[in-house]
């Protein structure tokens, strides 16, 4: 592989990785606060792509209006899912909440099949972002620059919320100990609902970016992406937002590079992804950023 091919692959990897990063951040955020692996996260991501699609194709909204409304609507959906599915189980064993998360995931998938239909839909691509730029002999889609920037901005916004605002302080406190935080006069349910809204909003941003990059949307698209984002979150150290972002970038670059280095194994890309996941769980279960278990969120 010559240097030009390597850089081309690297650019593609970073662009794929930043999508994983965006979704992994939301995953890890909810885990960090609630210790709940929200398996429905990938399906919320799927729902976002359909909302944005219908906003543009059915309501004829300009893309920026449709995308903004989608993020808000999906945040609301996340909030509602917490209220309906998870809140009644707040004091139940953690396994009950996990099973509920799987149920919510299955519900959303089948709901989407019934309402949106099983056939893939073409997501509208913005012509400006679809253009190719030629830089030093490497062809890069303009969108490839946009996605990492959006991912980093979202990450910075999230870190600001977590560490500079009062609600962020409450979220961090909840992640340590819910009962004690309640005693301090924090409305735990409100904060948890906000966390879900925030995480789902991030999934929506990720979904829109993903759908613009791979403009084919279908009801089961969230399953694999959700799993990959989960792996990214674990690799980065689950519960740690910066780690999730790093894990996402790492996973994206790795997936592209594996295929680039071993073209004959390119049909088994997911085998490598899941192998790395298992190796991480054995060797460093706390992930890249998870130095100590106390440092969650």
């Amino acid at each position: 592989m010559n240097i030009q091919l390597f850089l081309q692959n690297l650019a593609n990897g970073v662009s794929l990785g930043s999508v994983y990063a965006l979704i992994a951040i939301g995953y890890t955020l909810i885990y960090g606060i609630l210790r709940l692996i929200n398996f429905a996260h990938g399906d919320i991501f799927m729902l976002a792509t359909y909302f944005a699609f219908y906003g543009i194709s059915l309501l004829f909204l300009p893309w920026y209006v449709s995308f903004t409304l989608t993020v808000i609507a999906i945040a609301l959906v996340g909030f509602l899912i917490d209220r309906i599915a998870y809140k009644p189980l707040r004091n139940a064993p953690r396994i009950s909440a996990l099973i509920t998360a799987i149920a919510v995931s299955l519900f959303l998938e089948n709901f989407a099949i019934v309402v949106f239909g099983g056939r893939p839909k073409p997501f509208p691509v913005l012509p400006e972002l679809n253009k190719m730029s030629l830089i030093g002999g490497i062809r890069i889609q303009n969108l490839t620059f946009v996605i990492p920037i959006v991912a980093i901005l979202s990450l910075l916004l999230l870190i600001w919320i977590l560490f500079k605002t009062k609600i962020g302080m409450a979220m961090r406190a909840l992640s340590r100990d819910i009962d004690t935080t309640k005693l301090m006069g924090v409305d735990a349910d409100k904060i948890i609902g906000f966390t879900f809204a925030l995480g789902s909003g991030l999934a929506a941003i990720g979904g829109i970016m993903y759908a613009m990059k791979y403009p084919s949307i279908y009801p089961l698209m969230g399953i694999m992406v959700g799993l990959k984002a989960f792996i990214a979150a674990v690799i980065g150290g689950i519960g740690n937002v910066l780690g999730a972002a790093l894990g996402g970038f790492f996973l994206g670059v790795m997936e592209i590079m594996i295929v680039a280095l071993f073209p004959s194994l390119s049909g088994f890309r997911d085998v490598f992804t899941f192998s790395i996941f298992i190796i991480f769980l054995i060797v460093k279960p706390t992930g890249i950023m998870g130095e100590s278990m106390e440092e969650k969120v």
Binding site: N12, L16, G118, P120, P122, R139, E255, S266, G267
Partner: protein
């Protein structure tokens, strides 16, 4: 009043008995959701039309029992079991993808229920089986047709092949294409792989395009082909993209957009073929009912139904064993996609070459076996 009610009740009970005794159940094992949902739905359109046009056989009503196999191998086998054990169907139509028919076929075989696949082209689907049939051509011929067309008509000399590793259809078709293409004197510059559900093919394309092929041969299904074509064009690939019958679905053009312009694929049917008098009948009825252009999968499912109905007619009974024997002895059956004579479960038919032009599938020629 009570007397009146009991008479009404008696009539209802009697009529349901008569109707249930007077129907022949045929199971349908199609992918209505999942990755290749378009295939299932396109086929179902053709099947419904055939059922509407010819709803009876031997004086009995034919009842279609549709079950969704979710484009999944395990589900396809489950559906076959359910159709046979719970619904007691006399025959099954399905599946579409070869891998799914390969999973469901052995179940029909064991239960001695005949199964007619409309579009599974992999040779293994019917090999060594007494109860599995199909109405489409097989991949050794399809691969050969594609290679001949690429080498002789398009003048392509170097081809990179990108195939799906978990679909028997894709692996088989790629091998048969390569065999003929090399025999003709062409060069295969490399073989690359992906799996269903992949969305990013840039790494494979990067490696493939570095070998400077004249054409890419992608014997996969439309969801991946449309995204791959987009990425190949974005990466500056200017050569031909060639595919098999798995490319034909409206989604290919909707998702692929400009990137799939000029894409060639081998398939089973075009109204221009005028394979038999049934072709015109089918095209007319289809466009009247659905107000859209016909497609290969709809035409094949249409034929699968008619072939099965014809076999039941010839068998003179709805006994699965007799239907199977009649299917095996099909000779010169006039279907919409061609004249079908079954030999070891397979017919021999011509392949149509089609092309994407101005956002439409257009006829580009045919190859005879």
């Amino acid at each position: 009043m009570r007397k009146f009610l009991s008479i009404v009740l008696a009539i209802v009970v009697f009529s349901t008995l008569v109707f249930s005794a007077g129907t022949i159940k045929i199971g349908v094992d199609f992918p209505m959701t999942g990755v290749v949902a378009a295939f299932g739905q396109m086929s179902w359109d053709g099947l419904k039309l055939a059922h509407e046009m010819y709803p009876t056989v031997l004086g009995k009503q034919i009842e279609l029992v549709l079950m969704d196999n979710k484009s999944d191998k395990t589900e396809a086998a489950n559906v076959a079991s359910r159709l046979i054990e719970k619904e007691h169907v006399k025959a099954i139509i399905g599946c579409i993808c070869s891998s799914n028919t390969l999973a469901a076929g052995p179940i029909a075989e064991r239960a001695h229920v005949p199964m007619v696949s409309s579009a599974s082209t992999n040779p293994l689907v019917t090999q060594g089986k007494k109860y599995v049939f199909r109405v489409c051509f097989t991949d050794p011929f399809q691969g050969k047709a594609a290679a001949l067309f690429a080498y002789k008509q398009l003048g392509v000399k170097k081809v990179a092949v990108i195939l799906e590793v978990s679909q028997d259809y894709s692996i088989g078709l790629a091998n048969f294409f390569k065999k003929t293409f090399k025999k003709l004197g062409g060069k295969i510059t490399g073989t690359y792989f992906y799996v269903t559900g992949d969305v990013d093919f840039t790494a494979q394309l990067n490696a493939a395009l570095a070998t400077h092929p004249d054409a890419l041969y992608v014997p996969g299904y439309y969801p991946e082909i449309s995204l791959m074509a987009r990425q190949a064009r974005q990466m500056g690939f200017k050569g031909y993209i060639l595919c098999g019958d798995g490319a034909e679905a409206p989604e290919l053009i909707k998702i692929g957009g400009k990137a799939v312009e000029g894409l060639y694929y081998t398939t089973h049917f075009d109204p221009k073929m005028a394979a038999s008098e049934m072709t015109d009948k089918f095209v007319k009825a289809y466009t009247e009912k659905y107000h859209k252009n016909t497609d290969a999968l709809g035409a094949l499912a249409f034929d699968a139904y008619l072939l099965l109905r014809d076999a039941i007619q010839r068998a003179g009974s709805d006994d699965p064993q007799k239907i199977r024997d009649a299917l095996e002895n099909t000779k010169g059956f006039k279907g919409a996609t061609g004249i079908i004579t079954i030999h070891h479960g397979d017919p021999t038919k011509s392949a149509v070459i089609k092309k994407v032009e101005n956002g439409k599938f257009v006829y580009a020629g045919f190859v005879n076996p």
